[in-house]
């Protein structure tokens, strides 16, 4: 769907809808520890926000991530996850041992911080992968 097919109605609806989707995605990401939710769901929400924009406004959507950027982002997102594990290894812990962070806070809080970090990585990866697959599926002109 690189061509724009939106009408003014779709366009306006999209403008009102996307901020709420993004805020809700943020909420699911941050609140994932306390209720059902977390990185995967938040990533899906962010991804859908971008895909909606691509569907309605085509290639020149205001909230757009190109396919190539998405591939790189997907790698970086998962890399963040792995890198947090490597960080704990540098601080003399085992891989992904969040308690090893040399921060002046309670053990449980350090774990919560680590969980938040990896959830952010997961979110970026899922969002970018959804966009990349969508981009690959809808790109016809190369054929």
């Amino acid at each position: 769907m690189n061509r724009k097919f939106g009408t003014i109605i779709l366009d306006t609806a999209f403008r009102y809808l996307v901020p709420f989707i993004l805020v809700f995605g943020m909420y699911v990401l941050m609140h994932g520890e306390y209720s059902p939710g977390g990185g995967f769901q938040a990533g899906a929400l962010f991804g859908i926000a971008v895909v909606l924009g691509r569907l309605i406004q085509g290639e020149e959507a205001m909230l757009n991530i190109s396919g190539n950027t998405a591939i790189i982002l997907a790698g970086i997102g998962t890399f963040i996850y792995g890198f947090i594990g490597v960080l704990t290894m540098l601080f003399n812990g085992n891989f992904l041992e969040y308690g090893a962070f040399p921060l002046n806070m309670a053990e449980a809080d350090r774990h919560a911080l680590g969980i938040l970090g990896i959830e952010i990585g997961v979110t970026i990866c899922v969002m970018a992968t959804i966009i990349a697959i969508f981009d690959a599926l809808t790109r016809r002109e190369e054929w």
Partner: protein, 102 residues
Amino acid sequence: MTRLLTFLAIGLMSLMLFITTSGLPMLFDPNSPAATHVSPRYIEKSREETGSPNFVTAVLADYRGYDTLGETTVIFTAGIAAVLLLRAARKHSDCLPGGDEE
């Protein structure tokens, strides 16, 4: 013929599966091994050990966080696999060099 044999194998396998369900613990049994061996630790301690009141998140992101790294990698793999197949194919002979061009 091969199909018939395969169906026979599937039939035999189903039969065996049905007969051996009696070895499984009873449904929803609070005293089953799955409920008493490893999981109590997650329910009792995850709040103080990981700071997460959601036990599933605690298991997913902390106790078995390494599995989740693998899981995220699976998503990444699927993403780049789809892009390789759909976008990065060559225009004329869509294969890696050395593959079977037609």
